[in-house]
Symmetry: C2
Subunit: 197 residues, 2 copies
């Protein structure tokens, strides 16, 4: 792994398990085993590093969402629920607890104080919502959504539910195992009765 990658991966871990502001440049350099000069060569500011961390997580999410796609739109939506659950099961195995969504954590902590980073994270959420909206429109077109459910509204609702369930699990120190079933319950409630689940 090259130096830049090592910095980004160490930072991703520290931001997730602590918070953005609680991690100083000295902590980041120690964790990545680099000198300050080298750190600033790759990342002139902590915001630049945070954006690279967001991009790393966004690429992993994109792959998960790609893997969730099937020909059956209801199954695709439920597979997204499972994929999100698996991501947090993985964090729980690595870190011993639910640590929050990498995007949601930064969104909550920094939206009001770092507009460049806020916009960067908002871009990831917008892309995620577009992917969900595509699946919701597919589901509506194939007649598996309740007719009173708006596909774009549902995409936003699912994304909000993902963020809310993860946050509640984090603050309650609850197992990650509740996240996927919670999401499935929301999605199932919007499907027509008798639709295959």
């Amino acid at each position: 792994m090259d130096t830049r990658d090592r910095i980004v991966r160490s930072a991703a871990r520290l931001f997730l398990t602590r918070s953005y502001r609680s991690v100083g440049i000295a902590d980041l350099c120690t964790a990545a085993d680099v000198r300050k000069g080298s750190f600033y060569h790759y990342f002139p500011s902590k915001t630049d590093l945070a954006k690279a961390v967001v991009d790393l997580h966004a690429e992993q999410l994109r792959r998960r969402l790609d893997d969730a796609r099937t020909d059956d739109p209801a199954a695709t939506l439920l597979a997204v629920a499972d994929a999100v659950g698996e991501i947090h099961d993985g964090f729980e195995r690595r870190f011993g607890r639910v640590v929050g969504c990498p995007f949601g954590n930064l969104a909550a902590e920094l939206s009001t104080t770092d507009d460049e980073l806020r916009a960067h994270v908002a871009g990831v959420f917008a892309g995620w919502e577009t992917t969900m909206a595509r699946a919701c429109h597919d589901a509506a077109d194939r007649g598996v959504l309740r007719t009173d459910v708006d596909p774009d509204g549902l995409a936003h609702m699912i994304l909000a539910q993902i963020q809310g369930l993860i946050l509640l699990a984090k603050v309650s120190d609850a197992p990650s195992a509740g996240i996927a079933p919670g999401l499935r319950a929301l999605i199932t409630a919007t499907l027509r009765e008798g639709a295959p689940t």
Copy 2:
């Protein structure tokens, strides 16, 4: 307003519009116009202050939830949606933007680094969920919920949706006006068709 109240109210404003860690003791003393010695007399630690800020917001929320109670359980659930929307309309008027949920912000930023504060915030969420569950059980008992919707699951789902919608509005710098309709859409989707809304 006495000194303690002044410190708590200034801190509430600073934590909401910035973040917990971005606000130092010196900032808090300046905003409340108190000396450090006086500050530490009332709040031996920043965690103690944060807990008092949480209690202030929790008392305001409790009053809002009390006001939302009616004899009609579906109307009560929808009134909670409107009450949450109004709280964030109020923040938007005061601060010029959606600033996030006072509880959710602290939950996201501090759950992994301050277990005492995490547990305190988790207690507020647990109380909130109990209030919602009471309304959801009332709705189920009166036959206005879809029969496939579990009342306790719905209470958790509504709380998660509240948190997620507020967080998405915060990161997207979107108007608070979208929060109440988003919540209403979730609640309406769980009511039986033909139930009074």
